[in-house]
């Protein structure tokens, strides 16, 4: 059975660290005069993006190309619902084209899971974001960024690679609809960090007993306690969906403005998966401040995605250690 990267909930500590350590080594490719290694020569990686996302798609494309893989970009219009080609037929086409890996971004939760488990095709499936479910490579690059920036505040383990033990991370924003939040809650927890999610009650899942994190509605209380704060984007649909009274009130109660940024400990970093609504969930000056690692997140995205592609495709079978393999 082929291995896939569908969800960070499927990664155990060993598997997560394996990806981060590999990414660490591959990060130097960006500094080489020739930004290429021959490792995935002859492999075909398909970017199957049902949702627009230039940023993520380019990141995966760069990652695949730096490993000398062939990249095919397949911008599928909508889903079965808009009566374009069905997911099943698209998968059958990709299989016929000889795709070795399919990077899929889809507006519906569970689509990568179906792609991986239906018998339509044989390729490795990498989830680049499915509905409100998961975005595993985002969480991995977030963890990678945290590990590099907060090395002094992480407790080193007795044996094995360094994780995120001892860190406390806050995730703030539309947690209910955020795949970035879900992936991060799993992964940060697996790597030994403590997580607190902060949101207005209407944007917090009602049933969260199974989530390995604390829940708070009060951002000001949480900020002084954390080593990192991850701000989530507020989407337009939520603003019009009656989840909170107005943008102004949201920004006042849950936005990371300069006053709030000053509540953070000196060493704490500010993160955002992008794209940002400057002035809504995060103030411009905070996004551009010294403690912001947002640009690093983007840069690290390529290394992390290279690591995932290498581990899945680099050998005769996947080398990724998975919880439910």
């Amino acid at each position: 059975m082929k291995a896939h990267l569908l969800s960070t909930a499927d990664l155990d500590r060993e598997g997560a660290l394996q990806i981060l350590d590999t990414a660490q080594e591959l990060a130097r490719v960006a500094d080489m005069p020739i930004k290429k290694m021959p490792t995935l020569r002859g492999r075909t990686v398909v970017n199957l993006f049902f949702e627009d996302s230039t940023r993520t798609r380019i990141s995966f494309e760069a990652a695949a190309k730096r490993l000398s893989a062939d990249v095919i970009n397949f911008a599928a219009k909508g889903s079965s619902v808009s009566k374009g080609e069905s997911l099943k037929d698209t998968a059958l086409t990709l299989a016929a084209m000889g795709a070795d890996a399919v990077v899929i971004r889809h507006s519906m939760s569970g689509a990568p899971h179906q792609l991986a488990h239906a018998d339509w095709m044989d390729a490795h499936v990498i989830n680049a974001g499915d509905g409100t479910h998961e975005h595993p490579t985002q969480a991995l690059l977030d963890a990678f960024t945290l590990r590099n920036h907060l090395a002094d505040h992480i407790s080193a383990p007795k044996q094995g690679s360094v994780g995120l033990d001892g860190l406390h991370v806050a995730i703030v924003g539309d947690v209910l609809h955020s795949r970035v939040a879900r992936s991060n809650v799993h992964l940060l927890n697996t790597l030994g960090a403590k997580v607190t999610v902060v949101a207005p009650p209407t944007l917090m899942p009602l049933h969260n007993d199974g989530w390995p994190c604390e829940v708070s509605y009060d951002l000001d209380t949480v900020l002084p306690q954390v080593d990192a704060v991850m701000m989530l984007r507020v989407q337009r649909e939520r603003m019009e969906g009656g989840f909170f009274p107005s943008e102004r009130e949201y920004s006042q109660r849950y936005g990371l403005d300069e006053r709030r940024a000053a509540l953070l400990p000196d060493h704490a970093v500010v993160m955002h998966p992008g794209p940002m609504n400057r002035g809504l969930e995060i103030a411009s000056r905070v996004a551009d401040s010294d403690r912001s690692v947002i640009i690093d997140q983007v840069r690290n995205g390529v290394s992390v995605r290279m690591a995932v592609l290498y581990l899945l495709l680099g050998g005769n079978e996947s080398a990724l250690s998975e919880v439910n393999a």
Binding site: A9, S80, M108, A111, E134, R182, L206, N208
Partner: protein, 427 residues
């Protein structure tokens, strides 16, 4: 049509007897009946039940004959031991006029495999705004008595009130699909731990319970009769129990899948498990089983919902809601209820009470001399593996595919005619 003798059968799980059937009725019951000029069907101790009656089936014709037709749907029903089914009104066109219900009724007659009783829509086009011509449908050849907008809820309280009042004139009953629309817009599965982890929009229990609570008050206020389709939550069971204790004239229905499956199955993201109302948690399953055992829930209704392959072979978010149910109903109920319901109890929930609620005089009858021979034979000891291709339906969306289930139907008789016979029944 020749006479038949069912040899060595046990009516409602009781004594071993032979049953002589002729001219569509039971002629004699006793030990070792004479068998000249009669076809002998060896029962080998099988259980004899009154033919099952399903108050909640979707036959899809007219409109979606690619998924099912009256012919294939009734064939599937006969396989499941049913001798009467109530065909829900959400066809295309909607069954909101005498013309459409008569068409469906006639198709059922022509197929001859199972009595088809069309359910009339409560509102025109199922839009929930204007009452459909309930009286005309009642007076038509189809003699509609059960009315439902199933698929949709009669959401407006005033419209529901009017419907409940109007049907009193001809002893009709409104069967409500309880789903508060504003609380379930875009929802795909039960709202709970599983949905919060899977990133699928949740369907809160309160969307069903709030409508039920309202309608229980309405039906008591206007002194009418209410039937509640596919109850799915523990809270709903409790509401019905309390209402019955107060003397409210309400009956309630539960599906086989809600008696046995939970929302954990959604983790597979396989849309075969996507259904309205959604699969809930084990707590709800347990409460539904309690309710069926103690009679709070009067009947089992299959909510048989066939769908073409392409409507289920896609992303969860765009898959259609619904599961097949006719062929597996009895087996699943036996499996889920175990010792809590004996054969007489099964017959009560799946034949007697549904026939009473719908006002059928020739179904759900006692197994006695003189009664119509609408019967089904069940082998209690055999198990069978559900193969979605072999279910007799045009569609294949069964959530029990691949499972081993107990209690297999071996023979179904509609007024003495054999409408289904498995290979296992010996001559």
């Amino acid at each position: 049509m020749s006479a038949k003798v069912l040899r060595n059968v046990r009516p409602l799980g009781g004594e071993l007897v032979d049953v002589l059937i002729d001219d569509g009725v039971i002629k004699a019951i006793g030990a070792k009946l004479p068998i000249e000029d009669a076809e002998v069907i060896e029962g080998n101790g099988a259980i004899l039940l009154p033919g099952l009656v399903d108050l909640h089936t979707h036959l899809r014709e007219p409109g979606r004959e690619d998924a099912e037709t009256v012919l294939t749907g009734t064939a599937a029903a006969a396989r499941g031991g049913f001798t009467a089914v109530f065909a829900m009104a959400n066809s295309t066109p909607v069954a909101d006029t005498a013309a459409v219900v008569e068409q469906v009724w006639r198709l059922g007659q022509e197929a001859g495999l199972c009595d088809v009783h069309p359910v009339g829509a409560v509102t025109v086009g199922l839009k929930g705004q204007q009452l459909a011509e309930l009286g005309s449908m009642a007076d038509s050849a189809a003699k509609v008595r059960v009315f439902s907008d199933d698929g949709h809820c009669v959401n407006d309280a005033l419209v529901m009130r009017r419907a409940l009042e109007y049907v009193k004139a001809f002893d009709g009953v409104i069967a409500q699909h309880a789903q508060e629309a504003s609380l379930t817009a875009g929802a795909d599965m039960n709202e709970g731990e599983v949905s919060s982890q899977l990133g699928l929009k949740g369907w809160p229990r309160v969307a069903e319970e709030s409508i039920i609570a309202r309608d229980l008050m309405l039906v008591q206020y206007v002194d009418s009769r209410l039937h509640l389709c596919h109850i799915s939550t523990a809270g709903s069971v409790q509401l019905v129990r309390e209402a019955k204790a107060r003397g409210v004239n309400v009956t309630a229905e539960v599906t086989p899948h809600h008696l046995s499956l939970t929302d954990e199955l959604a983790r597979t993201y396989d849309p075969v498990f996507k259904v309205n109302p959604p699969l809930r948690t084990q707590l709800d399953v347990d409460a539904l089983r309690d309710g069926l055992a103690d009679g709070t829930l009067d009947v089992v209704g299959t909510d048989h919902a066939p769908h073409a392959d392409e409507d289920k072979d896609c992303e969860w978010g765009c898959a259609s809601f619904g599961m097949l149910g006719l062929q597996t109903a009895l087996s699943v109920v036996v499996d889920a209820m175990g010792d809590r319901l004996d054969w007489a109890g099964i017959a009560d929930r799946m034949s007697v009470r549904p026939a009473e609620i719908a006002g059928l005089s020739d179904q759900g009858r006692p197994i006695e001399v003189g009664e119509p021979a609408n019967l089904t034979l069940v082998d209690p000891d055999s198990t069978w593996i559900v193969d979605p291709i072999e279910l007799g339906s045009k569609s294949r969306n069964s959530p029990f595919a691949g499972r081993s289930l107990p209690a297999q139907i071996t023979l179904t008789l509609l007024r003495g005619n054999i409408t289904y016979r498995s290979q296992k029944v010996a001559q």
